[in-house]
Amino acid sequence: MPNYTIHINGKERFVTADADAPLLWVLRDDLNLVGTKFGCGIAQCGACTVHVDGVAMRSCQLQVSVLEDLKITTIEGLSEDGKHPVQEAWKELDVPQCGYCQAGQIMTATAFLNENKNPSEEEIRVAMHGNICRCASYNRIEKAVKVAAKKMS
C-alpha cells in the first residue's frame, strides 16, 4: 500500500493506505481520531464533516490520495481546550441528546460562521440542513449557532 503525508490539526501525519481509502476511515482506524463519525458513507448525513482548508467537507467522500497539500481540521483540532465559541455555545445550550452527530454539526457550523459573521435564521437553517440529527435536537443546534455567532463577532 502507498504512503501518504497528510496535514491534520496542524501536524504532519504519515499513513499507509489504499489510494481510495476515505479520509474518514484513515482518521478513525489509522490515526485514532474517532471524533469524526460514520453515519451513511454517501455524504448525506454530515456526521463525518471535517474542514479542508477551512471548508466543511464530508470526509467519507475524500480519498486519502488527494489530500497531500491540504490542511485538514477535525473536531479534535477545532480548539486546544474545547473552548471554541461554537463548542462553548453547544455546552451552554446543552445541545446533545445521544451526541453522535454533534461533532459534524459543530464542524459545519464553525465553517459557516467563519464565512458568515451575522447570519439570519433562514441562513442558519439552510446552512445546517445537510447534517442529520436523528434525535432531532435541531431547535437547540439552531439556537447554539446563533449564540456562537454572537460570541464570534
Binding site: 500500500m1 493506505a17 489504499d18 481509502a21 476515505p22 476511515w25 478513525r28 482506524d29 489509522d30 485514532n32 481520531l33 474517532v34 471524533g35 469524526t36 463519525k37 460514520f38 453515519g39 451513511c40 458513507g41 454517501i42 448525506q44 448525513c45 456526521a47 477535525t74 473536531i75 479534535e76 477545532l78 474545547g82 463548542q87 453547544w90 455546552k91 446543552d94 446533545p96 441528546q97 445521544c98 451526541g99 453522535y100 452527530c101 454533534q102 461533532a103 459543530i106 442558519i124 437553517r125 439552510v126 445546517m128 440542513h129 445537510g130 447534517n131 442529520i132 440529527c133 436523528r134 434525535c135 432531532a136 435536537s137 435541531y138 431547535n139 437547540r140 443546534i141 439552531e142
Partner: protein, 716 residues
C-alpha cells in the same frame, strides 16, 4: 412474608461500604433489589464487581463524589438525571460529582434496560433512599467523632454541622463512615427543599461530545482487533446457496472470509478494507418466501374486513350503540414500516476465548444479550462480561442484540477479538422495523354525543401490548371496544420509539378531530367533555388520569393561544398518554405556495417532578420533531423481500430547515417522575395532521403525509 423480610433487611443488604486502598470510601448498592448478603465490596476501583452491586458511589477523602451510573445512555439523559437524584439526597454540590457509566451487573439488577421510558420511574425511590442512607452514614460518623447525638447534626453541600457550629467535610469522615453499620433510619428530603433536582444540569458527557472523545461503541478499540463487515441475505426470505470470495481475498487488508449461517463475514485490518471486501463478494441466494408491501396492504385490509380478532378491551355494547346511532363515522389509517436509523450504525465488539467472553458495545438490553450469547456459544453466563458504551441513538433498535450475537459468533469462529460494523445500508436493510399497521375506527353519534367507539388493529407480527388498550380514550366512551389481529411475516419487526402508540395516537387523535367537526364542537372542548366520564371512574384498568390529562390539555390550550392566532396561522390539537406521562400538543402551521409549513408546536407535559428541566425539555423537543419527521416524510417498503430504501439519499429524515420551534411547558406537581424518552412523540403526528386539515380542508389517513399531500389536488 417474603416482602416483609426484604423490607426488614433491605437497607443493610442493598447498600454496603468499604474503605478504598487509594483513600476514600466506596458504597455499593443495588437498585430495586436486595443484594446478595455475601456480596463482597472491593477495596480498589479497578476490581469493581458489577455482579455483586449494580451501582457504586465513591466518596474521596477530598470530598469529591463519583457515581457509577448503571443505566445505558442512549441520549435520553439518564446518565445525568439518575445521579442527580442520588446527589440531591446525599447533599453534595453537583460540581463535586463525577459520573461514570457502570458495566453490566448481575441478575440481581432488575432494570438495566433503556426502553419504555422507565429508567427514572423505576429508579426514583431507590436512588433517593441510596443518597439519603449514604448521607446519614456520613452524619453518623461525624456525630461519633464529635461525641454528640447524630440527630443534632445536619448535612448540606458536603459539609456536616453540629449544634455547636463545628463543621466536618464528607471527605474527613469517610474512613470512619465506611466502618459503621448502614443506618436503617433515614429521612428523605422534602421536595420543596430540593437544590439539585429541578436545576438545569448540563449532560455529564458534554465535554467529551463536543471535543470528539471516544465514547460510542463505534469508537471502541482493542489490541489485535479485526474489523468485520457482514454480508447478509439482501431480501427477507432468502437463504445463502453459494458464494465466491476470490475478488475479496485479493483486497489489501482483508484477512479472512467466513460463512456463518446464511451470512458471510469479511475480516480485515481496517473498517474500510472489510467493507470493500464485502462489496467484492459475489453470492447466490435462494428465494424462499418473499413478501412485498403491496401484499401486506391487501392482507391487512382483508384482516380489517374479517371477524378474526382478539378483544383487548370491551365496555358496554358497541353493537347496540351503533344500531341506535344518528350517525356513524368510519375511517381507516395506515402506517408503513419504519427503520430506526440510529445515526451510529449497529456495531459490537466481541473477544471469545476459552477462558472468557468479553463483549463491548451499544446495547439497550445487556443482560438479555449475555444470556443469548451464553446459549449461542454454549457458555456459562458467568464467563461473559458485557460493557456498555454510550449509544448513538437507540429508538428501540438496540434492544435487539442481533449485532452482538453476530460479533460473538464471528469471534468464536476466528478465535480473535473482532468488531462488527454495519454500513448504513446494512443497518437500514437488516433492521427490526416498526411494523406496518392499519387501524380502522368506527364511532356512533347519538343526540349530539359520542356513544360508541370501536378500534380494530391489523398489524404485521404481533399487536399492541400490555395496557395500551386502556390508554386515553378508554373509559371516556360508554360503549367501547378494541380488537387486534396480526399477520405473521418474515420481515423482522420490533419496538420503535413509543411502540404502537407512535402511530395509534395519530389515528385516534385525527379521528377525534373529525368527530369534533361532525358534532360542531371545539376540538379541545370535545376531549375535555369526554374526560369528564373518566375523571371519577372506579375502573382500575384505566391507565391514565382523567384529571392530569385535563390539566395538561388546559395548559397547552392557554400557552398556545388556541383559537386566538393571527390570520394565516392554522392550528391542530392532539393529546395522548403513554409511558406513564400525559402530553398535549398544538401545532401551528402556515401555507407557503399552498404547502403546509409547520411553524411552531406547543407541548404541555405532566411527567411529575421534573428532575432536570434542560434534559427534560430536550427530550420533548426531540420527541415532537422525531414524531413530525417520521409522520411527514419517512416511508419504507419492500418488494420481493427487499427494502426499497437503503440509505439517506432515498430515505428521508427530517432536517433543520423543515423543523418548527417547539415550546415545552411542564405541569407543576410533586408526583413521582415518569418517563420522557418517548411520550412527546405520539401526539405530534395528530397535531400536525389536524392543523393541515384546518388549513387545507384535507384529512390525512396515512403516513408519510407528504405522499398524501403530493397526491392531493389542493396542491396541484
Amino acid at each position: 412474608m417474603k416482602s416483609q423480610k426484604i423490607d426488614n433487611f433491605s437497607r443493610r443488604n442493598f447498600l454496603k461500604t468499604s474503605i478504598l486502598a487509594s483513600g476514600g470510601m466506596l458504597i455499593g448498592f443495588n437498585l430495586l433489589s436486595a443484594c446478595n448478603p455475601v456480596a463482597v465490596m472491593p477495596v480498589d476501583i479497578e476490581s469493581l464487581n458489577f455482579n455483586d452491586f449494580n451501582a457504586f458511589i465513591k466518596i474521596s477523602d477530598d470530598g469529591y463524589v463519583t457515581i457509577f451510573s448503571p443505566n445505558p445512555e442512549i441520549g435520553q439523559g439518564v446518565k445525568t438525571s439518575m445521579p442527580m437524584i442520588i446527589a440531591e439526597e446525599l447533599e453534595i454540590e453537583w460540581s463535586k460529582v463525577n459520573v461514570v457509566q457502570g458495566a453490566l451487573d448481575s441478575e440481581n439488577f432488575q432494570r438495566q434496560v433503556a426502553g419504555g421510558s422507565q429508567s427514572i420511574r423505576f429508579g426514583w425511590d431507590a436512588l433517593r433512599q441510596t443518597g439519603a442512607t449514604t448521607r446519614q452514614l456520613l452524619v453518623n460518623a461525624a456525630a461519633i467523632k464529635w461525641n454528640v447525638d447524630a440527630s443534632t447534626c445536619s448535612a448540606s453541600k458536603g459539609i456536616i454541622t453540629n449544634a455547636n457550629g463545628d463543621k466536618l467535610g464528607y471527605g474527613e469522615v469517610v474512613k470512619e463512615a465506611a466502618l459503621l453499620e448502614v443506618p436503617e433510619e433515614i429521612k428523605l428530603k422534602e421536595i420543596k427543599d430540593f437544590t439539585i433536582i429541578g436545576q438545569e444540569i448540563v449532560n455529564v458527557d458534554i465535554d467529551k461530545i463536543i471535543t470528539g472523545k471516544p465514547l460510542f461503541g463505534l469508537d471502541y478499540k482493542a489490541e489485535g482487533m479485526l474489523h468485520a463487515s457482514v454480508l447478509r441475505p439482501p431480501a427477507f426470505g432468502q437463504k445463502l446457496e453459494s458464494f465466491d470470495d476470490s475478488k475479496t481475498k485479493v483486497i489489501n487488508g482483508v484477512i479472512e472470509v467466513l460463512k456463518f449461517g446464511d451470512k458471510i463475514a469479511v475480516l480485515a485490518s481496517s473498517t474500510w478494507a472489510a467493507m470493500k471486501g464485502k462489496k467484492a463478494l459475489s453470492a447466490i441466494w435462494k428465494d424462499e418466501n418473499l413478501e412485498s408491501t403491496e401484499d401486506h396492504n391487501k392482507i391487512l385490509t382483508t384482516i380489517l374486513e374479517g371477524n378474526d380478532f382478539e378483544t383487548r378491551r370491551e365496555d358496554g355494547n358497541i353493537k347496540v350503540a351503533f344500531a341506535a346511532a344518528d350517525k356513524l363515522i368510519e375511517r381507516t389509517y395506515h402506517s408503513p414500516f419504519l427503520p430506526h436509523n440510529c445515526l451510529e450504525p449497529m456495531n459490537f465488539y466481541a473477544d471469545v476465548t476459552a477462558k472468557k467472553v468479553h463483549l463491548v458495545g451499544p446495547i439497550q438490553t445487556p443482560q438479555w444479550t449475555v444470556n443469548r450469547v451464553a446459549k449461542l456459544l454454549d457458555r456459562e453466563t458467568d464467563d461473559i462480561y458485557c460493557e456498555m458504551t454510550r449509544m448513538g441513538g437507540g429508538f428501540g433498535r438496540r434492544l435487539y442484540g442481533d449485532f452482538a450475537l453476530e460479533a460473538a459468533e464471528i469471534s468464536g469462529l476466528v478465535k480473535k477479538p473482532i468488531k462488527v460494523v454495519f454500513s448504513r445500508e446494512d443497518d437500514m436493510t437488516a433492521g427490526t422495523y416498526r411494523p406496518s399497521i392499519k387501524y380502522r375506527i368506527k364511532a356512533s353519534i347519538k343526540d349530539g354525543k359520542l356513544t360508541g367507539y370501536y378500534l380494530k388493529e391489523a398489524a404485521i407480527n404481533g399487536n399492541m401490548y400490555g395496557a395500551i388498550s386502556n390508554f386515553f380514550p378508554a373509559g371516556c366512551i360508554p360503549n367501547f371496544k378494541v380488537d387486534t389481529a396480526n399477520h405473521k411475516s418474515n420481515i423482522t419487526t420490533g419496538a420503535w420509539r413509543a411502540p404502537y402508540t407512535n402511530f395509534l395516537a395519530f389515528a385516534e387523535q385525527s379521528f377525534f378531530d373529525e368527530v369534533a367537526s361532525e358534532l360542531n364542537v371545539d376540538a379541545i372542548q370535545l376531549r375535555l367533555d369526554l374526560l369528564q366520564r373518566v375523571k371519577n371512574t372506579d375502573d382500575k384498568s384505566i391507565e391514565y388520569s382523567g384529571k392530569r390529562m385535563e390539566d395538561t390539555i388546559r395548559l397547552v390550550r392557554e400557552k398556545a393561544n388556541w383559537g386566538k392566532t393571527e390570520e394565516g396561522v392554522f392550528q391542530g390539537f392532539s393529546a395522548y398518554y403513554s409511558h406513564n406521562t400525559h402530553v398535549a400538543e398544538i401545532a401551528d402551521i402556515v401555507l407557503k405556495d399552498g404547502f403546509p409549513v409547520i411553524k411552531k408546536v406547543t407541548a404541555a407535559v405532566d411527567c411529575g417532578v421534573v428532575v432536570n428541566p434542560t434534559g427534560a425539555r430536550n427530550q420533548v423537543e426531540g420527541g415532537v420533531l422525531d414524531g413530525i419527521g417520521h409522520a411527514m416524510y419517512s416511508d419504507f417498503s419492500f418488494k420481493n423481500g427487499k427494502p426499497d430504501s437503503k440509505n439517506f439519499d432515498t430515505y428521508r429524515l427530517i432536517r433543520m430547515n423543515e423543523t418548527p420551534k417547539v415550546d415545552v411547558y411542564f405541569v407543576k406537581n410533586n408526583l413521582s417522575p415518569t418517563g420522557l424518552g418517548e411520550p412527546g412523540l405520539p401526539p405530534a403526528g395528530g397535531a400536525v395532521a389536524n392543523a393541515i386539515n384546518a388549513a387545507l380542508g384535507k384529512r390525512i389517513y396515512s403516513q408519510p403525509f407528504v405522499k398524501e399531500l403530493n397526491k392531493s389536488s389542493v396542491l396541484g
